[in-house]
Symmetry: C2
Amino acid sequence: MKIEDEIRQKPFKDAYSKAVVNLLYTHSYLVTEQSKIFKPHDLSPEQYNVLRILRGQHPEPITVSSIQDRMLNKMSNASRLVEKLKIKKMVERKECAVDRRQVDITITGKGLEILEQLEEEVNKFNKSILNLTKSEVEQLNDLLDKLRG
Amino acid sequence: MKIEDEIRQKPFKDAYSKAVVNLLYTHSYLVTEQSKIFKPHDLSPEQYNVLRILRGQHPEPITVSSIQDRMLNKMSNASRLVEKLKIKKMVERKECAVDRRQVDITITGKGLEILEQLEEEVNKFNKSILNLTKSEVEQLNDLLDKLRG
DNA sequence: TCTATTTCAATGTATATACAATTAATGTAT
DNA sequence: ATACATTAATTGTATATACATTGAAATAGA
């Protein structure tokens, strides 16, 4: 449905203004649906993302600031997310030997298991949540990659 | 830049998985930039959105639940956002005469003034933040409108 | 070496999102 | 008319985002 109708708004000033609102609205739609997958596993979308970053390095550790760098939201707070995951025993934290300011984070067996369980489900979700053909999705990716300048 | 490079990640499983991440990442980019406009006016992007909804009805009032319906994020909390705006004297709250459960919200002169001041700036921002041609932006809007099914 | 600056992680505070629970008012059914 | 269900708004609690500050450790420069 056209976004003007969904949020019952007057026509937008121009396509650019519409696109900004459209991106915000689509994001909300996406995250709301996505949360339903992660919730039964006691994970938020952001915590899931941190686990994926850690798996990408496994079995090597990665520092908190490197996690931050790779997070989808640069303004988020890797330190606190790691703490939440540690409480759930999905990650381990170890003082870095060469630089004691840094903290080495590693995903645990439990963390890897949960990612494994979610893998199939997430792939299915990603395909089904976007009501677009393959070529449309590719177009969308190109536009988003270009959009950010 | 391609998102794989920006977040230093391995290639995605498929275009759909990439698009989901791409939308989350682009949203974060957008909101971070957008906040810089609203901050000097002591508004968050969400509060700005509520003010726009109220202006759309002005001078008629609108109930809290109608605001909620039209918000970009359906899971947000119109009641609390209205309270914040009331403290700043940008909106007024009045018990609804015909149904005392409802609360009529109206934008104040001060609220309208601030929207007025922001108008030009927001239009310029929306145009400059999206590094796309007019026809690309239109394409993007079509894809997003279709995406949500 | 000693001082100043920078870096890394953690912490504090405000706002917003997500979702459950509560309370008052209204509507409905018998 | 009374009991029951529904609706509207508020409130509570947990998580996350946004941004500033702190404190410890490392680095650079005089």
